[in-house]
Subunit: 346 residues, 2 copies
Amino acid sequence: MTAPSGPTLVAGGAGFIGSHLCRALLEAGGQVVCLDNLQTARASNLLALERHAGFTFVHGDVTQPLPEAITARAPGFARIYNLACAASPDLYQADPEHTMLTNVVGTVQLLRLAEQTGARFLLTSTSEVYGEPEIHPQPEHYRGHVSCTGPRACYDEGKRAAETLAFDFARRGRADVRVARIFNTYGPQMRLDDGRVVSNLICQALSGEPLTIYGDGSQTRSFCYVADTVDGLIRLMECEGIDPQPVNIGNQQEITINELVEVLSSLGTAPLDIVHRPLPMDDPQRRRPDISRARAVLGWEPLTPLREGLAMTCEWFAGELRSNGLPVTTGARAAPGRRRVAAGGA
Amino acid sequence: MTAPSGPTLVAGGAGFIGSHLCRALLEAGGQVVCLDNLQTARASNLLALERHAGFTFVHGDVTQPLPEAITARAPGFARIYNLACAASPDLYQADPEHTMLTNVVGTVQLLRLAEQTGARFLLTSTSEVYGEPEIHPQPEHYRGHVSCTGPRACYDEGKRAAETLAFDFARRGRADVRVARIFNTYGPQMRLDDGRVVSNLICQALSGEPLTIYGDGSQTRSFCYVADTVDGLIRLMECEGIDPQPVNIGNQQEITINELVEVLSSLGTAPLDIVHRPLPMDDPQRRRPDISRARAVLGWEPLTPLREGLAMTCEWFAGELRSNGLPVTTGARAAPGRRRVAAGGA
C-alpha cells in the first residue's frame, strides 16, 4: 500500500480492529488521526499507538457534534474509516439507544465530513446485517434475516441503517464510499471482557475455569485473524474504481464451537470442564461469508491458519492476564474423558 | 374512545393520515398539539383542523431539537403519536438522509419526551419493514426481505431502526410503547402529487389522462380506507396492557392493480387509455397484511368496502381538482375494448 496524500481519520481507532488498523496505516508511513470515545477501547492500545510520531488522538463521541480538533483539520483528510461502535453483544446492548445513534448519527456526520472534504469513506459494517441467515455461505446480495424488534437489533439495524446512509451518499455522488461487512474477527488486543466466544474461551482456558459453551456447541462461526481483516479493509479503501457495493471481509473456514474448543485444547491450555448454558436470544446458528467478491475485486483472502492465529492470541492473552496480576494456567491439556458440567438450564 | 387526561402530541399531524387522526381525536373531545415541518402536509388539512378550539399547531422538524413550544408543555402530554415522515417513495427519496434522520433522530427525541413525561407512545411503522415479502400474508413475526442498500432503504430501514428504538425503550421500561405497521392507506386529503397508485390513478381518471400501470398490473396491494386506519391507531394507543409487539393495521382484501383500475372504471370516471411503464426498483410484487393480531387484541378490522372508499376519495379529489381550477372529466365510463398504449419500455 502507498500512503494517501493526506492524513487518515479513523473513528473508533482505539478499539480492537481500529487499533490494528491505525498501526498498519502508521507502519506504512501514514498520518493517522484517531477519534474515539474510549467506550470499549483499551488504554494500552492507545499507549502503543501514541509512540508513533504520525499518530494523533482526539477524544470524542460521534453521536455528538464532531470535536473542533477534527473539523478544524477536516480539509486535509484523504481517507475516513468509520469503525465507531461497540461490536460485542454485551457491550452494545448495555446502551442500545447509544448504539443505534452511534451508527446512524455517527455515520451521517462522518459522511458529511467526507462530502465536505472529498475524503474517501469506508464504513465497517458487519455480518450481523444478515441476522440469522437462511442461506450459507452469505453473499453480499443476500438481504438478511434480522429481527428489528429484538435485543440485538440496536446493532444489526443500526449497521443496516448506516449502510443505507452510505449508499445514499454514494448514489448521489456526495462521497466515494466503501462498505465492508466484517465477520467474526479475533486476535491480540481484544478486550478480556469482550464477551464473545474466542476471548471468553481463551480467558477461561488460561485461567483454569470451566469453558462455557452456549447451546450444544454445534453452532458454527468463521473466525478471521485480525491482521487479515485489516489487510482487507485497507485493500478495499485503496482499491480504485470499485462499484459501490458491500464487500464481505471474513474467513470462509467454518467451524463449530465444539471444534474451536478442540483446537484450544490441543494448544495445551484448555481446562478439563465444560459448562453448557442456554443460547442467548437471536444468537445465529450459522454464519459464514461468501468472499468471492473480495477475492475477485480486492485479490484478498485470509492467510492466517486458525491454529496459528489462536496460538498468537492465546500468547497475548496470557501476557495480559499476567500483567493484570492474574494467575495463568498453561499446559493443562484436555484429558480424553473430560467432565461436562450442565448449568443454567442448558 | 374516552379522551385521555392530558393533551395528545401528534408529530406529523398535518400529513394525510395525521390530519385524519387529529380530527378524530378532536371530535372525541381531545386536546391536540400537532408538530409538523410541513414537508408533505397540505395547507388545507391544517386550516380545517385549526377550526377546532382544542387544536394547536407547532411548526418544527423532528430531526432538529424539539421546539420550546413542545418541550415547555411536555409534562402535560398523555399521548404521543409519531407519524412524522414522508411516506410516498417520490417524496421520501427526494432527501434520503433527511428521511433516515426523521425516523431515527425524530423517534428517539419523541421517545425521550415520552420517557420524561410518562406519556404513552405510538410509532407508526409501515408494511415496508417487510420489504419485498416472501410469504403472504405477512404476520408481524415475519422478519422481512428488505434491501438495506437500495433507493427505498432510507424509508424501510429508517422505520425498522425506529421500531428498534421503540422496543428498546419498551424493554427497559423507559416508555409504554405501541408500534403500528400501516399498510397502504387511501382516502380524502391525500396529496394530489403523492405519487402512489391510488392518488395517481384517481387524478389521471378525473383529468381524462391515460392511466399509468407500472409493470403488467398483476402486482397486488391491499388498500385500507383512512378512517379504518385511524380507528386502528386509536384503538392500539388506548388498549390497556398490550404486549409490546408490532401490530399490522391494513386491509386484508388483496387486489391487483388491474382490478383497481376496473373498480375505478366502474365508478364512471376512468378514461379510455392505459399506459404501461417499467416497475420501479425494489417495488414489491405483493403486499397483504395478516391482521389476526389486530383482530384478537384490538377487536379491529377494516369496515369500509373498497368501492365505497374509492367513491368517497374520487369525490374529494374531484373537489380538490376543481378548487385548483383544473378540469374534471366525470362519467367517462370505460369502453369494453379500450385502447392500451405501451410506453417507457414496458
